[in-house]
Amino acid sequence: MSHDSRGEMPGARFVDPKILARVGNLELLAKTVVDGFINGLHRAPFFGASIDFAEHRQYVAGDDIRRVDWKLWARTDRYYVKQYEADTNTNFTVLFDISRSMKFSSGGVSKLEYGAFLGACLGYLATRQRDRVGIITFDEDIVTHVPPSAKHFDMVLHTLDRAKAEKPGHLSAPLHRMAEHFKRRGILLLISDFYDEPEAILDAIKPLKFLGNDLIVFHVLDPQEINFDYDEASAFEDLESRDQIPVVPQSFRDQYRSLIQEHVTSLRTKFSEQRIDYALLNTSEPLDRALFSYLSSREKMMRVR
């Protein structure tokens, strides 16, 4: 890994100390138990070697005889196996949409940059929790895949730094392939602008949930995508398809705002139904505030559970 002239790691710029100063006060709690090797704050998804007894179950052929509760056999003359609920580390994978639409910027940071900041921050947070961090970037296909590992944080940052939005994107195909790829449960952080029909998006995301992954969805949009504050009639070019349409913004604005709002609402509703955490992030808003608000809501949800 190369270092720049200031002796900083590439990608280190994503770890904004100001952001981390606020985010670090919170604990990132996985919603589901993830199996792992390092004890952490997460509850392990599997019963195994842990200090917190969970329950007994009858022995079945193939169980490790070391887990048989011999004291209970002595009392009942039946074989029971002890099960423990153990805290462990988890896989934290960033699924980063780098389709061409993500490079859009109306003046501030692009959605791609904003998403990269976001991924880096949360990756760092996960690393501190001793979770394994990985990243998958995709457009219409998977572009880069860094498997989750405790040592891959630098690679994650590097991947985020090198990500370029060059090709049109499509959620369905790459997400389906990812779903086949994941063997272990973990936390999946999906960052995208979700330019597709809500049903199609949900269909693409659902397979990720099949393994019991905890899926967090960040919907990143530029303020112009939300407000459509253009004045002059111009030809608008679709960054994905390169189609051009002459547009008179004054006459389109209200309808556009209504449509995008409807889209966001629809996504929020559908993700909520699927118990998927969804957050709409505006690239004009400070990054730390977005993370803070999300993690706050996340913590609340954990307490409720």
Partner: protein, 685 residues
């Protein structure tokens, strides 16, 4: 407007470029990348709005600039009228438009066509040219003095109206010549617009255009015109049962080349139709129609004779005013010695009806001053001054306007108290019986008495033998109107007050002369009495252009109101000269201003008979007479102007230069406006 290179108009297609830019290219030049158009595509929109043009002004400026530049390349020029081409051939010009407004221009559409031609001429003047509008009929006047202002000329032309006047080219051409001769412009032209009536040009007019002046005739006449006219009427008076009966005979002239058959001719008296007769008139001939006599009941009746109808109705009617005849009352004073000393005089005065004479013969001894009342003339025929009239009565009579004729003879004597009545100083009797006698050798034909004898064979005074006469030495203010062959005074006139006195130095009977036996006696006696009675023959009508002296015609001094045939009211004060010019044909009415409800005096005014003759004059003949060279290049050029080639006309006008300059300026303005709009647009974007 014509174009030297019209193919360049293909370039007008370039106007589509700014429109295309406005509609399409303008939107394409600003491409905004947007993450996804999935929502935009869902929004229905109207293509009109999408393609709308936001900056109409800018588009118009661009299109206009392109059009101007293309038009400049097409090399436009204005094809010129004949007059304008002449103007283009060199220098500024002074143009005099001489427009005929005589009555004959009222034939058909002649006047309208003449005005159109005048407008064309006005339209041909350039910015540096000057034009004068001269309107003429019998006289000419400058309607608009030399001006380059076409608007004022057009306005003056618009207010010009037809008159009833006769056509006279002389005064108009003289006026045009004087205007041109005063001008300092390089080219001097006159355009004569008329129907070129032959009667308007006698050839004796002293008009000559010097070299450098051109005359362009523009004829609006119609060949083969037909025109019926009533040029005159005769009136025969007869007395029947103490009532005057008038027989009207109307002349009807056919001034066309076609015979006029069964032309209805009507006589109306005071609006009542008296009789209608029909008459056929051969081409270029006249016929007369005699109507049944009518009784003259009123002091003034208005009669109208109408003959047929044609394109020139003004001369188809003939107006007249008929008044009862006036009698001249004469008192003949005789010596009372008996004999027939008044025989010849009485007989001569009993003949005639214009005027009719009412004669009373009274011996001198019986004459009283009352006898002078209402007498027009007193004749002292070979007698003394009546005792009854001595002492100033006769003088007062004369001073009031009476006439006194003194004929000397054997019984004549003149008292010294009345010498101021006698023209001159009376001498003795001159006896010329020794030879052939005296003859009346010299007559003053300029005097009204002898005026009618002026023409040859109009009275032979040479046959008159005068055996005796009284010598008379005229005073310095007296006018000798006839002398004998020895130079002695035969007749002398003296004005006393408003009256007239004529002394005839020989007798009016056959005692001293055989004049009474000669044919000239009767007209001479009539002339003497007419003159002394100041008899004015009442005219039944006047002709347009005549002037009448109201003070003379209507002797009472008073303010008068004259109403013209067109209804215009003219107020004439008693102190004014009282000359009324009769410029319109029809009936003039003259009323006393103080007694407006009284019966008006009327004057019938008819067109000049010459105006009815529409026979045209060859314009080139007139041009030749005026300019002296009918085939001169200038005149030829005026009639058939040398045509400028299109290239030459375009080169002279240089319109393209102005168009190109305008196009470039417009483009510069467009650039400034576009930049401003662009900046404004950036601020908003």
């Amino acid at each position: 407007m014509s174009f030297l290179a019209p193919l360049f108009f293909v370039g007008l297609g370039a106007i589509a470029i700014p429109i295309f830019v406005h509609l399409i290219q303008r939107e394409r030049k600003r491409v905004i990348e947007f993450p996804s158009l999935m929502f935009v595509q869902k929004i229905p929109y109207q293509s009109v709005r999408r393609r709308r043009i936001r900056h109409w002004f800018l588009l118009l400026m661009r299109a206009a600039a392109v059009a101007l530049i293309v038009a400049a390349f097409a090399r436009p020029f204005f094809p010129q009228s004949a007059a304008a081409q002449i103007a283009a051939l060199g220098g500024t010009r002074e143009l005099v438009i001489v427009l005929d407004q005589s009555a004959s221009m009222g034939y058909g559409d002649h006047w309208q066509r003449a005005q159109d031609e005048a407008r064309k001429a006005i339209g041909s003047i350039g910015a540096a040219d000057r034009a004068t509008l001269v309107l003429f009929s019998r006289n000419a006047e400058e309607s608009m003095r030399a001006t380059p202002d076409r608007g004022r000329l057009e306005a003056a032309l618009g207010t010009a109206k037809l008159t009833s006047g006769a056509t006279r080219y002389g005064p108009a051409l003289k006026l045009a010549e004087s205007i041109l001769s005063r001008s300092s412009q390089q080219r001097k032209e006159a355009i004569l617009i008329s129907d070129f009536q032959k009667s308007g040009w006698t050839g004796s007019e002293d008009v000559h255009f010097p070299d450098g002046m051109t005359l362009t005739p523009v004829s609006v006449g119609t060949p083969d015109v037909t025109n019926l006219a009533v040029p005159s009427a005769n009136f025969a008076r007869a007395t029947f049962s103490n009532q005057e009966r008038i027989t009207v005979t109307a002349g009807v002239a056919n001034k066309g080349g076609q015979p006029a058959t069964n032309v209805p001719v009507t006589l109306e008296i005071d609006g009542h139709l008296i009789e209608t007769k029909s008459v056929s008139v051969a081409p270029n001939a006249s016929a007369s129609v005699t109507f049944a006599p009518f009784t003259l009941a009123d002091p003034q009746v208005h009669g109208v004779i109408k003959a047929g109808s044609d394109n020139f109705p003004a001369d188809n009617t003939f107006d007249f005013v008929m008044t009862p005849s006036q009698q001249v009352s004469i008192l003949i004073v005789t010596s009372g010695s008996g004999g027939n000393d008044t025989f010849y005089l009485s007989k001569a005065l009993s003949i005639g009806n214009t005027p009719a004479f009412q004669v009373e013969v009274v011996p001198a001894a019986r004459v009283t001053p009352q006898m002078l009342d209402k007498r027009s003339v007193v004749v002292l025929n070979d007698t003394i001054v009546p005792p009854g009239l001595a002492g100033g009565a006769l003088k007062r009579y004369v001073e009031r306007g009476g006439g006194l004729l003194i004929a000397f003879g054997d019984h004549s004597a003149w008292p010294t108290t009345e010498t101021d009545l006698l023209p001159g100083k009376l001498g003795s009797v001159v006896d010329r019986t020794d030879g052939r006698g005296a003859t009346i050798g010299t007559r003053d034909y300029s005097h009204q008495v002898f005026e009618i004898f002026k023409a040859p064979r109009s009275g032979d005074f040479s046959a008159v033998r005068v055996l005796r006469y009284r010598a008379l030495e005229p005073g310095p203010t007296d006018r000798v109107i006839a002398r004998y062959d020895d130079g002695a005074v035969a007749a002398v006139e003296k004005r006393v007050g408003s009256g007239r006195v004529i002394a005839w130095t020989t007798s009016l009977d056959d005692s001293w002369t055989d004049l009474a036996l000669k044919p000239v006696y009767l007209p001479l006696v009539h002339q003497l009495t007419r003159y002394l009675s100041q008899y004015e023959q009442t005219s039944y009508w006047s002709t347009v252009g005549q002037a009448i002296d109201l003070a003379t015609t209507y002797k009472a001094k008073a303010d008068r109101v004259v109403m013209t045939p067109t209804g215009e009211r003219l107020r004439m004060a008693a102190a004014d000269p009282g000359v009324l010019e009769l410029n319109e044909h029809g009936m003039y009415e003259i009323r006393s201003a103080s007694n407006g409800s009284g019966r008006p005096d009327r004057i019938a005014v008819n067109l000049d008979p010459a105006e009815s003759d529409l026979t045209p004059l060859d314009p080139s003949e007139l041009v030749a007479a005026v300019t002296g060279h009918a085939t001169s290049t200038a005149v030829a050029a005026a009639e058939k102007p040398a045509e400028l080639t299109a290239e030459e006309a375009e080169r002279r006008q240089n319109v393209w230069w102005y168009l190109l300059l305008a196009g470039v300026l417009l483009l510069a303005a467009e650039m400034a406006v576009a930049n401003q709009l662009s900046r404004t647009g950036e601020r908003f974007t």
